[in-house]
Subunit: 85 residues, 2 copies
């Protein structure tokens, strides 16, 4: 089966996010009443797995082994069957 | 009203994504049958707006003026009322 996982990696709430702070300043200078900005990564992975439990195991490996740094980042994902939109 | 917009910025399908290609190679070397990886940014913005149409206008300004490069990137967003989770 083909699966598509959308993995979102965000810095933990207690970790500073300098890129988000810079964006906040830039958005404020556009005249928007922005109070907080957090930035993260989104990784859309198309992969093959035998079934859904195997696919979830694979996404767990992707998240913890490569995509997120568990010390400072959290990740969440959505898993869909089939080709990407 | 406080709104929270989750803005996702992804490279257009016809644009090369070298970071995604690198991640694909790394995931394959972990033994995963990955066929495609696309990487993007996720920006979670907490801001104030008078009502929902005004909030959507503000997100449009964020997307086109600052966060996405419309030549090579597409963006999509979700808008919620209230404080971030």
């Amino acid at each position: 089966m083909i699966y598509v996982a959308t993995i979102r990696v965000l810095p933990k709430a207690e970790v500073r996010d300098p890129q988000g702070e810079a964006i906040r300043g830039a958005l404020r200078s556009l005249g928007l009443a922005v109070s907080d900005v957090r930035t993260g990564k989104e990784i859309v992975v198309t992969f093959e797995a035998a079934d859904e439990p195997a696919a979830r195991d694979a996404v767990g490996i992707m998240g913890t082994e490569l995509l997120a740094n568990p010390v400072i980042e959290d990740y969440a994902y959505e898993l869909k069957e089939g080709a990407p939109a």
